[in-house]
Symmetry: C2
Subunit: 353 residues, 2 copies
């Protein structure tokens, strides 16, 4: 199928660019002498994860149990890390059921309640759940807050039945304090005689600063597979390395001096801004940004462009954040040149339970 036959809005992935991105990410991690564990949240597509494994990834990262369920059901993956606090008996039961199906399924925890739930479920199932302690390296989300807290939680994981301490997880390892937090925690763990198997860093921009984190044994990058305006702004990719674009049709030009309306709104692109100017940029019209959106309408700002798109024209929009676009669409189109080579269902989109 020729790309022009796609009905809009359509989320397309340039396969040449994506394949180069997968190689580059793998090379950066291997250059640092550590393992790559790509985060599948960016694409949510088992076929793409298989390409990442073929390129050398040791395993995958999933953010939620639902993602792990989809990827294990798809098959072909034998090592998955779920980077989320799994809490409540229904969820720990699902985790244990999943851990029967692949050689290695590990999870993170940042508090005692979560660890005790994992221990109880693991012990009842007669299994040892590998648990990594999440640390807060400056993002201000979750994660243990001090090296002493992280070490105490590691000790609990090591002592309880049904769990085994595996190591530390940081996201992102970008802020200067992250290296200090990791180093100090490793010292405390060593002093307490707790062996550390894994020290896992994360984020795409951090692929370029792995030399500042010599304690890492693996790295989790997600966005690098597609890239987007956010990653370009963070210095993690060039504009040409953005593999995902949203094809949209101009459906109205109410005022050619001011704005055009496209059929891709926040239901495709989201309102995520991340400090960027606008909600996306139009390829081939370097001065046209998506200035506003409602659910089904994208408003292109024409005021800074001498060329104006016409009604009926299809434009290609580079999104601010690729991961959230994946979550909104049921399928993406892999294109090479102007040919649609493959249609991928976004198998793990949506359900976040």
């Amino acid at each position: 199928m020729h790309i022009s036959e796609l009905e809009t809005p359509a989320v397309t992935i340039d396969l040449d660019v994506m394949e180069a991105n997968i190689r580059r990410g793998q090379e950066l991690v291997e250059g640092a002498g550590i393992a790559m564990r790509p985060h599948i949240k960016t694409h949510k597509i088992p076929e793409i994860a298989r390409m990442q494994v073929a390129a050398g990834a040791v395993g995958l990262t999933c953010q939620k149990l639902t993602e792990a369920e989809v990827f294990i059901e798809a098959g072909g993956f034998d090592d998955i890390l779920v980077t989320y606090n799994i809490i409540g008996r229904k969820k720990t039961d699902r985790l244990l059921a999943l851990s029967e199906r692949i050689p290695r399924l590990a999870v993170v925890a940042d508090n005692e309640t979560v660890v005790r739930g994992l221990s109880e479920a693991g012990a009842e199932a007669g299994r040892q759940v590998p648990v990594l302690v999440e640390i807060d390296t400056g993002i201000g989300r979750n994660g243990t807050q001090t090296p002493a807290d992280a070490t105490a939680l590691a000790r609990l994981i090591a002592d309880l039945p049904g769990t085994v301490f595996d190591g530390l997880v940081a996201y992102p390892n970008r802020y200067p304090q992250a290296a200090d937090f990791l180093s100090r925690t490793l010292e405390l763990l060593d002093a307490d005689g707790i062996a550390v198997n894994t020290v896992s860093g994360g984020s795409t921009p951090s692929l370029l600063t792995l030399d500042k984190f010599p304690m890492l044994t693996e790295h989790r990058a997600g966005n690098y597979v597609y890239n987007d305006r956010k990653t370009v702004a963070a210095g993690g990719a060039t504009p040409e390395a953005c593999a995902m674009t949203v094809r949209a049709t101009v459906v109205s030009v109410p005022n050619a001096e001011d704005r055009a309306i496209v059929d891709a709104g926040s239901k495709v692109l989201t309102l995520e801004q991340h400090g960027l100017d606008g909600f996306g940029e139009v390829r081939g019209y370097p001065s046209i940004l998506v200035r506003g959106m409602s659910e089904e309408h994208g408003i292109l700002d024409l005021s800074r462009s001498s060329r104006k798109p016409e009604i009926g024209e299809v434009v290609c929009i580079v999104p601010n954040h690729a991961c959230v676009v994946s979550n909104l669409t049921d399928e993406v189109y892999g294109v090479r040149g102007e040919t649609v080579e493959v249609v991928w269902p976004v198998a793990a989109r949506g359900d976040t339970r």
Copy 2:
């Protein structure tokens, strides 16, 4: 099933509240002596649309062809207005195919390119497509920009084969200039001898100002079925009339003075803010807002609350914007009291082509 058995995150609809909302919306529109044509974008669920029709709605509003396709396939609806510029032969063919399946399928247009495409498709199919002219009443999105432009487009629709002019569509009819725009256009249409069947207003807050728009023959409200923080802020509903809440589990309390983390992030609630403080509010904790989000993490601000939620506790979050939450979830749970009475697939979510 008891509500506590729902795994989180879960999008719940309080059925008592929703039913009262449907009655109230219908009464407001009937009180103005006009017809109700609810916009299904808020719920995207045929079963709820049937309740709206049972309450007296004359037909439905869909924003995109994909929504109309789902609702016509579900059955039970004989009058649908698609409030979007349908452009390109594939889409006009889909529109004509749909129009064979129900007694009345109307669309809007705001430019000549769209009208000529509809005319060509309609004439080839031997049908007369009812077309309403969309006017820009101040939202600055699409819509004809002046009464003269709207009238000229109506004339074109009336003159071309395959289309029949049906009336005017405004969204929202909130701004003062909307009434002037509508009145002036109706004068020009009358002077040109063009009959007007429908004058359609829209939005939930506008339900309270219908007396200022005596020219309307029908009103399209969507959000009123659920309501949300945005509609409360606009004066369109009370906090108690918000039927949708997102149940989420506290998975971490990194710092009880500062924040707790819940398992509902932007993949459930979105980052839509609409000038509101935060991204959602926690019921039962009047001073706890969702301060930040990443895709799977919601960050609750505990700093202004003396009571603090505990790890493992389930909280109920009122979202900023209900329509976009519907689009993100595969199913919603209709609850009465503490009983889950029904599970509804969100049949028309996602695909926006």
